[in-house]
Symmetry: C2
Subunit: 288 residues, 2 copies
């Protein structure tokens, strides 16, 4: 499949393709609307430290030497402008700006060095989360389930070469601009991952094979530099708790919008396109 | 699809079907080799209590009123007689005998009453587990990932009516006979679930929709009656710790076999067929 697709892309860029139409992100599904697996790491240690504050829990053992990762639902991904349905505002509706990779088949027991060339595409993600539910589920030890509804993707998955120097050391060194109703929440860099994507893939594949199309996430992009802001509201609230003794920022309500777009160092937009979604009440859900 | 399949089944039973051949379980894949989601509960409270001993951890909050559940990989299920590859015996290789249901599409926020009629098929499962890894992962709060390699299924998925009176109250009241190298480990009844399958489905669907083909597991079948034995080795070891201060039973080694078969109250074999698998070293894995 790769050769004819590369040929078509070259003809498109040269203006020589037929049946061409304008790109309409609003009509896009997620680059992969379904995937064999969706495995999301938590590779930004600054985020992990702040979430321990948010969830009022002790640090995870070995968090700085062994990646932590949960398995999410991969059968119902949302496109970049799809409304995002939730049953209750009381669940603590939050966004999580992330980057991710889509891999070719990875053999069980692959090393990070073996995993690196299996990365085929890069993606930009909003890993929607329910914080009130997550605080309970993390205490069960069984991980997030109700706390992780459908995940959303920017419209375009790109091959790593499209990022130029911004793809290096197995990381995406771009600022992820996150807005709530048009107001800035943050613009943290994906370059600060404590574990690279190849390391995350090797962690996932230690005891299982990964089917082609498996998506591995970075976890919430987060930087030690406070000026970078945050990529989710739980982090904003954790910083408020540390600074002021209590959280001041509210979680999302129905009708609010979240926008995410990765940008290069010079401020120009990246190739993933923009996630721009509205939080809505799930049809059939009762008021809560 | 249902009507022509029911017609074919009726013709098969009447001896009127053409192109008939003998059923060969050894050639069967899992009833669904891939599924949209695989969500495994832990609905037998006796198992949960013993696993707290095995993992040396406090009880899970609200374990008797809110189901606990993890999301497993659903892209690489194994058939009933497939060899099961593992990278290291040091990971604590264990079986887990379970029952499960396959559902039609379930809307987000469905109640247990709404979920019940969405159950289409029943299955019998071996949820392979790595206990040394699981003990660490449960402490991260992110749940099982490396601890849960590919899951195996008995060859036949059946409609609930095939179980007669053994399918009642949303539970499978059959004894799951589990053997290690032909020696009995247990024969606990699936009727002792603290949460029914419809309750487990409603838990899974509270904040997400479930695609048709999603599989919901019971968790390890376990009974309060010690004479029923166990459906996994971690439970056997936990009982040994309680009784003798230390575990005596070893986890599985390469070359060992595990057999599972559900039986009706009169001892006759159920319709799921038998899981009979060998534990093997993953190809490419180094000695460990």
């Amino acid at each position: 499949m790769e050769a004819p697709l590369r040929d078509l892309a070259a003809r498109l860029e040269a203006g020589a393709a037929t049946d061409v139409f304008a790109f309409e992100p609003a009509r896009c599904a997620a680059p992969l609307p379904r995937a064999p697996q969706w495995l999301d790491g938590s590779a930004f240690l600054n985020h992990g430290r702040l979430m321990d504050v948010a969830f009022n829990k002790p640090a995870i053992p070995d968090f700085d030497t062994i990646p932590i990762m949960y398995q999410g639902a991969s059968d119902d991904f949302l496109g970049p402008q799809a409304d995002v349905p939730f049953v209750s505002e009381a669940d603590g509706i939050d966004c999580e700006g992330e980057f991710g990779v889509i891999v070719d088949e990875v053999a069980m027991g692959s090393s990070a060095a073996q995993a690196a060339p299996r990365i085929r595409l890069l993606v930009q993600i909003n890993d929607w989360s329910l914080r009130a539910v997550g605080a309970r589920e993390v205490r069960t030890g069984f991980g997030f389930l109700q706390a992780k509804p459908s995940t959303s993707f920017a419209p375009v998955a790109v091959t790593p070469d499209e990022l130029g120097a911004a793809w290096h050391d197995g990381r995406i060194a771009m600022a992820l601009h996150v807005q709530r109703n048009g107001e800035r929440i943050g613009a943290a860099s994906g370059g600060e991952m404590a574990f690279s994507f190849p390391q995350l893939i090797a962690h996932a594949a230690r005891t299982r094979r990964l089917s082609a199309g498996t998506i591995i996430g970075s976890g919430t992009v987060s930087n030690a530099d406070r000026n970078a802001g945050s990529s989710c509201l739980a982090e904003v609230r954790a910083i408020e708790m540390i600074d002021h003794g209590e959280a001041q920022t509210a979680f999302l309500r129905f009708g609010e919008h979240v926008t995410m777009e990765a940008r290069f160092a010079d401020g120009s937009p990246g190739p993933f396109g923009r996630i721009h979604q509205q939080v809505v009440r799930a049809s059939g859900a009762t008021a809560a």
